[in-house]
Amino acid sequence: MSRHLSARDISECVIGNRSDTVEGHLNACSECAGEVARMSESIAMFGSAIREWSEQQEGNVEIKAPDPAPNHFWDMGMFRWQVATASMAALLLAAIPVHRMNHREPVPMTMTAAVSDDALLRDVETQISRSVPVSIEPLADLMTSDTGTTTTTTGRSR
């Protein structure tokens, strides 16, 4: 086999992706097989060196698991939903009386108008039926008692 593996083929081999064609070539070509083996070994060596170095560095490192007790009120999972629901219910309950106060049953306009009309008519009737003005009604009463005739202040004497 005259052609060797391309750089991409060698990279694919190191990554771990080998097609049958490439595998066949590696079995036949010691040069390419050697190159793939060298690269793989070098990178594996690098990986283990990094792991060892990291292990040494990690020796004094103490990573603490986050405190399961909530630091913040809203970290409390399901409890926060319960609190939120209760708050909403309380707000709604408080809002109902306020709503009722602001929306009292209005007295129908026609009814008030009718009442005031009746009162006005009664008042007019009273005024018309007076024989003397209101201010001298007491004197008029005295006069009627002197003559023996009895009239009411509201009675008509025409």
């Binding site: 750089a7 990554i15 283990s48 990094i50 990573i63 698991a65 970290d75």
Partner: protein
């Protein structure tokens, strides 16, 4: 017997992962090393790695209710770590600090991390030189190339896990990996000459 065991087998992945997240202390114990290692290798700053690892678990804890089990817990944790590292790197002030840190400690000590007592001194020296060359190549990669390279070859995640952890499309992950490997290969070849 089957009927007793059946409920265990019918647990969905989401239920399993939710159960795994319920005991958060064991999640920390299980994934602390991988998260710390990825952040340390990305930033090469031990203090930042420690802080960001703590932040990573805090974020995961706060977001655990929203975890839907679409990936493994490790992939999900790694995604948080990848985002934290990206945010950290994007901070220009910290980037300056990171460069200063790197220049002073990294490359001179890179080879010392190999402890293979079985090899001959010459082989150990060659291995250290090789690791230093790769470390130097990784240092020069773009942030995305470095991320996918570290996730693949240090954390040994497969392509689909890297896709899930980074949010980068599969084809793009492969391109980043290919370019990273090309850079590493060139560095190794240059080191031998």
């Amino acid at each position: 017997m089957e009927s007793v065991l059946q409920p265990e087998f019918t647990l969905s992945i989401a239920e399993q992962t939710a159960g795994e997240l319920a005991d958060f202390e064991s999640v920390v114990r299980q994934y602390q090393s991988a998260i710390f290692r990825y952040i340390l290798a990305s930033l090469r700053d031990r203090d930042a790695a420690e802080t960001l690892t703590q932040d990573c678990f805090l974020k995961a804890y706060q977001a655990r209710d929203g975890f839907r089990g679409e990936s493994s817990v490790k992939t999900w944790m790694m995604r948080i770590a990848v985002n934290l590292v990206r945010d950290h790197i994007s901070n220009a002030r910290l980037r300056f600090w990171r460069r200063t840190q790197r220049a002073s400690i990294d490359l001179s000590l890179a080879g010392d991390w190999l402890t293979d007592s079985k090899s001959s001194p010459e082989a150990v020296a060659n291995a250290r030189q090789l690791v230093a060359a790769i470390w130097s190549a990784v240092d020069e990669l773009s942030d995305k190339q470095r991320t996918v390279f570290l996730l693949r070859f240090v954390e040994e995640m497969d392509i689909l896990e890297i896709v899930a952890a980074t949010g980068i499309k599969e084809g793009t992950v492969k391109v980043h990996l290919f370019r990273a490997l090309q850079a590493v290969r060139a560095k190794i070849a240059g080191g031998k000459q």
